[in-house]
């Protein structure tokens, strides 16, 4: 999948998502130019000083040394600025990607693999940042810096430039000759290095199962032996994979040696100055540094590229809706025409189509055996899922043509099993909005719920009883400024007295209300949802 993206293709995709990445690229180029110029400057000045000393031990080198120190200072300044600058430029990209991830998470119908979204929003975004902050600059430098340094060499000493250019040109051929097999294995080598880690993870995660079967001690004791076996096979792969690094190293060090030999012979012949020779010698290894760094970072970025590809896949698929009608401001009339929902694991044709007309402000019940699709129908009405068949009209307007954000603001939906995120009772009730403590207390009192607003709750409001949790969730839903209430089992876990209180509070809201329920409640009409085969029995 995304792993097949080449790093350059990834950059193009990223560019399409956000042109902000051009800032990172520009900075990478500017910093690269600064570094190349400073490298050449340092080499020239140092060579000049050493050349003067060679000619005359007492040569006045004080001013040149000062220049050298100033160059070092400038280099330090560039280095001081580069990290914060790269990080600052990655900031808007990071921010945008996180917001887009959240957008994608909150998209209806995207709740199938929620964990992967969290991964994408954390590790995936980190990966893109690493990619932009380290890999892209390295990529730019690996092309630009050797070319710039070679150009300078060509101008200063064409012979050495030729040697270096030849080895750089040889590099791909060398890599191909050595690496045809290696490349194939290289792709596996990172996975290979993970084999041991995965085996360990498997054993540790399954330790309880192993122990129940009295196998944990044996497996733990043989973990070392298995490790040895896996290490041998991993090393076999790595020995081949490392060959490409070896070829790069061999070419760069042979080129340095060859340049030094040729320079030496020409110095003996007297057709070259020592200063030039030293400057060339100092610059030669620098040509290979960016290449080596890019290849090292390429390995480090394999994961980053994969993760970055995944996040872009996700953002590419974010659906767009053109529904734009506003939701009605007053409690609307709802009409269900020949409606069928798809219930997981069942053919929707097995469910009977539902027709219903719900007048503004009416409280109606939705009844039927479990698994028949009551919850799904409520999710459809809440704008979280699509219908399998039929249509829903809101004051005569099809639900599908109402702008989702507007509809969601007009709805309040109580899930069958809400998680109640928030650190305190106040957090849970307000859902990020500022209602004022008085209204919150009133909402609790309506349901006879005696809880301190500052009471801190654990994850999923652990510590409250099931009935308290239920009423807290109902209170939260009723607080929403909604004209349509969609309540999934609001009276579950409640006794008759509390159930009646809940229904009274619901009625007081005056909204058009649909309640999915198993019990007899005080409602205006009850609709029956059922499967035909059960009907016949």
């Amino acid at each position: 999948m995304a792993r097949s993206d080449s790093p350059a293709a990834l950059l193009r995709r990223l560019w399409r998502v956000t042109p902000l990445v051009r800032g990172s690229l520009a900075v990478a180029v500017v910093l690269g130019i600064c570094n190349v110029l400073l490298t050449i400057g340092q080499a020239v000045v140092l060579a000049h000083i050493l050349g003067s000393l060679f000619a005359h031990s007492f040569a006045p080198i004080g001013r040149d040394l000062l220049v050298l120190a100033i160059l070092a200072g400038t280099r330090a300044l560039v280095s001081l600025a580069s990290e914060p600058l790269t990080s600052r430029l990655a900031r808007p990209v990071r921010h945008l990607l996180r917001v887009r991830t959240l957008d994608a998470m909150l998209q209806p119908g995207h709740h199938s693999a929620p964990d992967s979204f969290v991964q994408v929003g954390t590790r995936g975004v980190d990966a893109i940042e690493t990619y932009l902050a380290t890999y892209v600059p390295a990529l730019v430098l690996s092309v630009g810096a050797p070319m710039a340094l070679l150009t300078w060499m060509m101008y200063t000493d064409p012979w050495s430039a030729l040697i270096v250019a030849l080895t750089v040109a040889l590099l791909p051929i060398f890599m191909i000759l050595l690496g045809l097999e290696a490349k194939d294995r290289m792709d596996h080598s990172w996975a290979q290095q993970q084999v041991l880690a995965n085996y360990f993870g498997d054993v540790v995660r399954g330790m309880a199962t192993l122990k129940a079967h009295n196998r944990s001690l044996i497996v733990t004791e043989t973990l070392g032996d298995v490790g040895d076996e896996l290490r041998c096979s991993t090393m076999k792969t790595l020995r081949v994979a490392f060959l490409s690094g070896f070829s790069l190293e061999l070419l760069s060090s042979l080129a340095t040696a060859l340049v030094a030999l040729v320079l030496g012979i020409r110095l003996i012949d007297g057709d070259m100055r020592l200063t030039t020779a030293l400057a060339v010698l100092l610059v030669t290894p620098e040509v290979y540094v960016p290449l080596r760094r890019a290849s090292a970072r390429f390995h480090a970025s394999t994961d980053a590229v994969g993760a970055a590809g995944a996040i872009l896949d996700l953002l590419d698929t974010a659906p767009v809706t053109d529904a734009s009608a506003p939701a009605p401001a007053a409690p609307p009339q709802l009409e269900l025409r020949n409606v069928r929902v798809s219930v997981e694991g069942r053919d929707h044709h097995a469910l009977l189509a539902l027709n219903a007309m719900i007048e503004p402000g009416m409280v109606v019940a939705l009844e039927g055996p479990s698994g028949v699709g009551k919850s799904t129908l409520l999710r459809v009405l809440a704008g979280l899922e699509d219908l399998a068949q039929g249509e829903v009209l809101v004051d005569g307007t099809p639900l599908t043509s109402i702008a989702p954000a507007s509809w969601h603001a007009a709805c309040a939906w109580l899930a069958q099993d809400p998680l109640l995120p928030g650190a305190t009772v106040r957090d849970v009730l307000s859902m990020g909005e500022d209602f004022g403590d008085d209204r919150l207390r009133e909402a609790l009192d309506d349901l006879d719920l005696d809880l301190d607003l500052n009471l801190s709750l654990g994850e999923g409001a652990e510590g409250l009883s099931a009935g308290q949790r239920r009423r807290l969730a109902v209170a939260r839903t009723l607080l929403r400024p909604a004209t349509v209430l969609l309540l999934d089992e609001p009276t579950a876990h409640l006794d008759d007295l509390n159930a009646a209180k809940v229904m009274r509070a619901v009625r007081r809201r005056g909204a058009t209300t649909i309640v999915a329920t198993h019990r007899q409640l005080d409602v205006d009409i009850a609709f029956m949802m059922s499967a035909p085969e059960r009907f016949g029995v």
């Binding site: 041991l196 090393m235 690094g245």
Partner: protein
């Protein structure tokens, strides 16, 4: 737990694998030394040539340069192979040691969130590997190379060696240590901010539709924004520190070179250095200090590795939930279970109190009750994963505390509510319950738990690789597999924790009746909050708040 000596898993592994550590360090140092020596001898060659001697007199020097070039490339290859070899060896030790420290704690000694603890351990081991491969290894190798270069300078031009040594100490030791120190707080703030971001996204992933359908998504965006601001602040600090120490390195290297050149001139004036060697100290230092300065970048991230290591080491300090007796009794033929007035404590809190039960061969036992009431603790007690703290619990007429865990579990089979499926073949997953089982017996067990339909969809039947995304099993299938394994193991007492979660009514009924049929001579204990799973039970315990009520 003061008497427990906290031994470092990493230190012990390093000692055990010292041979490969020494080889790896030697190889890394050798390649670094050759890199530095290549720069130095090339400088020597050039300056010597400029004196225009006879070409023949340079043969040695030219040969040396070529030899070092070849040696450096070969050395780099050797270094990479040997360092990976060493790292893999050490990590195999660390993993084996960690697993054996974890083994006695599982499943009851890791607290309520044991799955989280296990995931943290796995993540920590990876971090220790990172610490080893990208921090400890390169830093020590570069330091060896740095000081070897200083030694060469001492030999070639003693006058320059003092400045060179000073520069090496600054770049190789002082600046990296300062960087590691200064990096601690921002790194911690960054990981806090990352946790906040994660929390927002977790909420969005689990309760996203509640926020959306109530028109409250804006709250999530606001929280994301706030977390992002905190993250930016921390990231900015981290970047500023990285920039600062990078700049300090560059400046120190530059000034050291200036000082070396100046002292070279002094040495030349006093004829304490041969003219042909005048470029050697500067070029040697330039290439050596650049290598050494790589240390501070890697030390910036040492903190997370250290935290991971100390968490792993602290595993030893956790109290064991159960200890085998020194001279265990031996079980007879009976496997009946009796509990009288049994209580179990955890963290000074009673988890089970005054539990009475008698289960004889042929019993079908039902355990129900709200979540967190102590049902699983009761199962752990019978499977000998924890000690009873009061009263008497016996298996086959022998006090459980007089039995070692493995012996008790040859009689008691336990399937937890989330049985693990190992990343191996289906057959191997089954055989861990009974290594001698034939394919036929395995098939029988799988068919009994209703995995027949699954089996027919697997590409290589019993030899299909399980685990991972490709052939992932659903929650219900995992639980069925767990039950099948337990049937294959043929234990007289079989305890199933929530075996029917994720199955519908008729599937659950079928599964449990098959289990009862297979286990008709023994004891079946089913923990479930589904009333219908308990139809036909001979004994029914209702557990609530640590008290078990026997209903008949």
């Amino acid at each position: 737990m003061s008497e427990v000596r906290q031994r470092s898993v990493l230190r012990e592994s390093l000692v055990l694998e010292r041979r490969s550590v020494v080889i790896a360090l030697f190889a890394s140092a050798a390649v670094s030394i050759m890199t530095v020596a290549l720069a130095g001898s090339a400088a020597w060659l050039i300056v010597r040539s400029a004196q225009r001697p006879a070409l023949l007199s340079l043969t040695f020097l030219m040969g040396l340069v070529q030899l070092l070039a070849l040696g450096k490339a070969a050395g780099r290859y050797g270094e990479r192979v040997s360092t990976h070899q060493a790292a893999l060896r050490i990590m195999a030790r660390v993993r084996a040691m960690t697993a054996s420290r974890l083994e006695p704690l599982v499943p009851a000694g890791l607290g309520a969130r044991s799955a989280d603890v296990v995931e943290t351990v796995i993540g920590d081991v990876d971090k220790v590997q990172e610490l080893l491969v990208s921090v400890a290894g390169p830093v020590s190798a570069n330091l060896i190379a740095g000081f070897s270069a200083v030694a060469v300078a001492l030999f070639v031009a003693p006058a320059t060696a003092l400045v060179f040594a000073l520069g090496t100490v600054l770049v190789g030791i002082v600046i990296p240590l300062a960087a590691a120190r200064a990096g601690t707080r921002p790194e911690m703030e960054l990981s806090d901010a990352r946790a906040r971001l994660r929390h927002v996204l977790d909420d969005a992933s689990r309760s996203g539709d509640e926020y959306v359908a109530n028109g409250a998504s804006i709250a999530l965006y606001r929280r994301l924004e706030n977390a992002e601001v905190a993250y930016d602040r921390a990231a900015r600090q981290v970047a500023h520190r990285a920039g600062l120490f990078g700049a300090l390195n560059v400046l120190t290297i530059g000034l050291t070179i200036v000082a070396i050149v100046a002292s070279t001139q002094g040495a030349l004036e006093n004829h304490r250095i041969a003219v042909s060697l005048l470029a050697v100290p500067a070029l040697l230092a330039l290439s050596s200090l650049e290598l050494v300065s790589a240390s501070s970048a890697s030390l910036l991230s040492i903190q997370s590795g250290r935290g991971a290591l100390s968490r792993l080491n602290a595993l030893v300090a956790r109290p064991w939930p159960m200890r085998d007796p020194a001279n265990p009794d031996v079980l007879g033929s009976s496997s009946d279970v009796t509990l009288s007035d049994v209580s179990v404590w955890r963290n000074d809190q009673p988890v089970l109190t005054k539990v009475d039960a008698t289960w004889n061969a042929g019993a079908v036992v039902a355990i129900s009750g709200p979540s967190g009431s102590g049902k699983t603790t009761l199962a752990h007690l019978v499977a000998r994963f924890i000690e009873p703290h009061g009263g008497a619990a016996t298996l086959g007429g022998i006090d459980l505390q007089r039995l070692d865990g493995a012996q008790a579990r040859t009689r008691v089979g336990y399937v937890d509510d989330d049985p693990h499926v190992f990343a191996t073949t289906l057959a191997a997953n089954m055989r861990l319950a009974c290594p001698a089982a034939t394919d036929d017996e395995i098939l029988q067990a799988l068919l009994a738990v209703g995995l027949g339909p699954l089996l027919s969809t697997l590409p290589h039947a019993l030899d299909t690789q399980l685990g991972g995304a490709v052939t992932g099993l659903s929650g219900g299938e995992r639980r069925r597999l767990g039950v099948a394994r337990a049937l294959l193991a043929k234990r007289p007492v079989l305890v199933l924790d929530e075996p029917t979660e994720g199955l519908d009514e008729s599937e659950a009924r079928l599964l449990l009746s098959e289990v009862r049929r297979h286990q008709s001579d023994g004891i079946v204990v089913v923990i479930s909050h589904q009333e219908q799973d308990h139809l036909g039970a001979t004994t029914h315990h209702f557990v609530n708040g640590g008290r078990a009520l026997t209903l008949g």
